[in-house]
Symmetry: C2
Subunit: 385 residues, 2 copies
């Protein structure tokens, strides 16, 4: 089995004085320092990035990372829209299981704020199908279609949903690397402008810059000497049709259910053992779907589950969702997000989550979604071994 | 160990009546027919594609493949410029070794000819570094810099180099799926227009559409029943700095030497055992570098090695290079090329290469390059087991 032994994240936000590879360089240097490794101890790199090709005509990023590291080791760029980071982690984990490497660095990086918003929104829509793009659908539009159907089927309101963002901004206020550290209220969410009805600005994750990296190893000596160590119990991927119209369900992301079910089976972890979860809240409705589709609560009850305060950080919390602030408050540099989610769980399970630490957290789950659910990665981590 | 049990390639060329996913659909359907499998026997898919994001704002292609297959299995899009196909194959092979799948489909697909040439050339330059792009360097320009240095160091001429394209067009004339089936002469190469001196139009691979797929399996029953079967003895990756200026050498691709050395070590194959090789001749100079850097001939002698006819198909050939026609004549749909190279070796080792069959071919090598050498994948295959 392999374990995560290091993590670093840059600040998330509008970082106009840093390029994509400035951020990548900082994340690589930071993670090597966190786990006290040298560059030449890295056997391979998996690099999650979505938009550099579309936004800045920058492909073949793996070789750019080789240049930064001064290495000849295998480096893979993986792209699955907003699940690029989680997919990079999944492949890195399996590269170790294949015996092809012992120590692998997983990098997620994205640079989104140097371009006009309409350019970025159009580029993000590249993760939707051609027919959805031709119909003028943005990502907010796709999730708004889901939200409207869900609202009418389960009698849920915009006010119910607002609690997701309120919680995540509260958590973001405790995370110094978060893009937004301001606490917000349900009234503020409800008064914010519509992006695509019923979803409003404060239901939506922002456009962000940022990079994160983790180091995974199966090397016995490194594991024995590791200051911090969290075992990878499961990493599972499922896919679904790219176009919403070709899905079996419209009130759930089936790929989440499939990946989560496999991850629980393989890890032998029970859902009630999870203390911390980072779920993919690109829009508030997406967190509600995630909580239900993973199995933390019943279909149709996710918004009230969050509104009740059960998954908000408190003195006696035993299960908290999106302690990082989620995509909503921590920010959503798309290729970095999946790595940040896993890194946040790593910080929680090694007792280093500072003001947002969940006491005695021992088992955590990360849930990363590409597009409107065409790709899902679920990772389960534990500090017990 | 795992083996390749099926291969299919579409026609390569200017296929204006087919979209990227039309080509992908044809390749998937074709390979399943070649190995007599059903869609639901595929455990995972690795998909190599370089340019769909830049050219048609089409990312998250993995989920589109899920839609075509009607599946929820893991699907990964891999991008390493013109090595995207070889890298997808490498990761697929290791996914099986990790025990995460038994039967994996590897797809490479690219759609390049629906756009004005200047748009495609600019998009291809995305595989070079930002500083090279800013300097106005195209891919032909980068390889021309290498060729000029190489010519002066080793006293090689444009005429020497011309034999590479002459050989590859001869082989292309025997391959019904090739983009160019016309035989050309050294004089025609020398009279063709300069693209970037000393490289001319007939030193350069074309802009192409096409898709290829192979199926790999470790499933004992499928292997026992396979009509055609070729074992994967080694698949090795090496990287180098993206920018030429940050490389240690300028007359060789160091990543080729590193990947080839590892592949020979791991496979225990000796270089003289290789009967067929597909090497990455995006420009004629690139085939010369490849032959030298893999170790088929000494540094500085590659052009004369080809000109002497030793690696051209003939009645008594025991070692032939680029029987498919190479990138030059078969065409170069960039994400598909790495899969086509492996597929061509598979056809040769299963005795199905028709007019271009090398008699008694038992061991083959495929060599796939990203950009100007920032990524290299070397694969060694055998039909002996």
């Amino acid at each position: 089995m392999s374990s995560i032994i290091g993590y670093y994240t840059t600040q998330f936000g509008e970082l106009w004085d840093k390029s994509l590879f400035d951020l990548a360089r900082e994340a690589i240097s930071g993670v090597l320092q966190d786990c006290e490794l040298e560059k030449n101890q890295i056997d391979a790199v998996f690099y999650g990035n979505m938009m550099a090709g579309v936004l800045e005509n920058n492909l073949h990023g793996g070789a750019k990372i080789a240049q930064l590291l001064g290495t000849h080791v295998p480096i893979f760029r993986v792209e699955s829209a907003c699940a690029s980071g989680g997919m990079a982690f999944h492949l890195a984990h399996n590269y170790i299981l294949a015996g092809k490497a012992e120590t692998v660095l997983v990098l997620g990086a994205e640079k989104m704020t140097d371009y006009p918003p309409e350019v970025v929104v159009q580029a993000l829509a590249a993760a939707a199908s051609g027919e959805e793009q031709e119909a003028g659908l943005t990502f907010a539009g796709l999730y708004a279609l889901i939200a409207n159907y869900y609202f009418s089927k389960y009698n849920v309101t915009e006010e119910d949903l607002a609690h997701v963002s309120v919680k995540n901004h509260f958590h973001g206020s405790l995370n110094e690397k978060a893009q937004f550290k301001n606490i917000i209220t349900v009234q503020q969410v409800l008064k914010s402008s519509y992006v695509a009805s019923p979803l409003k600005v404060l239901d939506s994750s922002p456009i962000s810059d940022g990079a994160c990296a983790v180091v995974i190893t199966s090397n016995k000596q490194l594991l024995a000497n590791a200051k911090n160590k969290v075992e990878i119990l499961a990493s599972e991927v499922a896919t679904d049709a790219l176009s919403l119209k070709d899905r079996a369900y419209f009130d759930r992301l089936e790929a989440t259910s499939i990946a989560a079910k496999k991850a629980f089976e393989i890890s032998k972890v029970k859902i009630e053992d999870i203390n911390v979860a980072e779920v993919h809240d690109c829009f508030s409705i997406a967190e509600v779907l995630a909580l239900e589709d993973i199995g933390f609560c019943k279909k149709g009850t996710g918004a009230k589950f969050v509104a009740g305060g059960k998954v908000t950080l408190g003195e006696s919390s035993s299960f908290v969702v999106n302690t990082s602030g989620g995509l909503k408050a921590a920010g959503h540099p798309v290729g970095a997000t999946g790595v940040k989610q896993i890194g946040e769980i790593f910080l929680q399970l090694t007792g280093r989550a500072q003001k947002r630490q969940v006491k005695n957290a021992h088992t955590g789950l990360a849930h990363n979604v590409g597009g409107s659910g065409g790709t899902v990665v679920v990772t389960i981590l534990s500090n017990k071994n």
